[in-house]
């Protein structure tokens, strides 16, 4: 019952070593390999995900910066356009005012000329009527050059008085 059998001890040691080699290759080796591969896979996935996140964050920042830039740009363009429009408007206004002034002075000049012409016409008309009336009074025709000069002198005296 309690006797040690050297052959059995030796056999068992050999058996254990053989069993160890078998199980290390077929059981523990394979399962550990799978476990390691999986942990490597998970690590890789996590690293890739973190990388992606960081890239996305960077891209977001970049886009935000671009958006801000674009907004500034837009505001600047609008401001430019407004100031240009303002300047253009002022130019146009000045020009229009100048035009209006010019037109008015031209119209005034024309009115003055027309008035002159009308006055002259009216004066000659009145002179003719006066001559006719004087002829009727004097019972003779007053169409000599002397008569005419006389009437003109009279009329200019009248207009100066008026």
């Amino acid at each position: 019952m309690l006797e040690f059998e050297p052959a059995t001890i030796l056999f068992t040691v050999i058996n254990l070593l053989v069993l160890y080699l078998i199980l290390r290759k077929l059981l523990f080796g394979r399962v550990n390999a799978v476990l390691e591969q999986r942990s490597a896979l998970v690590k890789g996935k996590i690293a890739a995900a973190e990388d992606n996140n960081r890239q996305a964050e960077e891209r977001k920042l970049q886009y935000e910066r671009q958006l801000t830039d674009a907004r500034h740009e837009g505001a600047k363009i609008v401001a430019d356009a407004q100031s240009r429009a303002q300047r253009l408007y002022e130019d146009k206004m000045l020009q229009a005012e100048a035009d209006a002034k010019r037109l008015r002075s031209a119209a005034e000049a024309q009115i003055a000329t027309e008035r002159e012409a009308m006055l002259r016409g009216a004066r000659s008309e009145v002179a003719a009527l006066a001559l006719m009336a004087a002829a009727k009074v004097a019972e003779r025709s007053m169409d000599g050059a002397d008569d005419k000069a006389l009437i003109d002198t009279f009329l200019s005296e009248v207009s100066e008085q008026a």
Binding site: E3, T8, I9, T12, V13, L19, L23, L41
Partner: protein, 232 residues
């Protein structure tokens, strides 16, 4: 009747020789060695069968259970041995599977190899080689020797005696438990042949067998860890 039981019990306690190899004046091959071969064949076949289709991305139920078991072993060994755990896990796993199956194979009517003190002696010798081999492998010759003077030089004689005591205790504990369970079961079968042996078999064959497996592997791991772990 009692006499004949005594005789049959004593003969059952002896280690029968299955056959003798007729070289060098005859090498006896004990029953326990033959049963060990059966266990080895069983474990090898099971390993081949269970690890046929391992998948990294989509493990099946069997693979998940297998991975859980191996992970359990790895975590246990790592927590006890620290940084150098890796080469020890397969050996301790092998020992655990072998002792566990040896203790349980009595259920199938085969002689448990762990009932043979030569088998448990071999197991204990391997544990001793592992414990002190690791102590010198990871601390160097001098560091390994220094380990015997820890935690204080006063304990040097005790630590040296432990080199012999540890394997002896491992060997005797396993052998004694299995033998004791075997004797109790034989007597129970003699006294009450029905029902009761089945109930007690659950404790003595299943529970005690597994407990002794855990104890043996746990102590071996603990002692190895003591030898290689840096003092913190």
């Amino acid at each position: 009747m009692l006499e004949s039981f005594k005789e049959s019990l004593v003969s059952a306690l002896g280690n029968k020789t299955a056959f003798t190899i007729p070289v060098l004046g005859g090498i006896p091959v004990a029953d326990s060695v033959v049963v060990t071969w059966i266990i080895m064949a069983l474990l090898a076949a099971l390993s081949l069968l269970l690890t046929r289709k391992l998948s990294v991305r989509s493990p099946g139920k069997v693979q998940t259970a297998l991975e859980w078991a191996v992970q359990l072993l790895n975590d246990f060994v790592r927590s006890n041995l620290g940084a150098h755990w890796r080469p020890f896990a397969p050996w301790l796993g092998t020992v655990a599977l072998y002792i566990g199956l040896s203790n349980l194979i009595g259920i199938l009517g085969l002689t448990p190899p762990t009932k043979d003190i030569s088998v448990t002696a071999a197991l204990a010798i391997m544990s001793m080689l592992l414990i002190y081999g690791a102590q010198f492998r990871y601390n160097g010759l001098l560091g390994g020797l220094k380990k015997f003077a820890e935690p204080m030089p006063l304990l040097l004689p005790i630590n040296l005696m432990e080199v012999a005591i540890r394997p002896l205790a491992l060997c005797m504990r396993l052998f004694g438990n299995i033998l004791g369970a075997f004797i109790i079961m034989e007597m129970l079968k003699f006294l009450v042949p029905v029902i009761l042996p089945a109930v007690f078999s659950i404790y003595f064959d299943l529970f005690d067998g597994l407990i002794q497996t855990v104890v043996f592997v746990f102590l071996t791991t603990l002692f190895t860890g003591e030898g290689i772990q840096e003092e913190t």
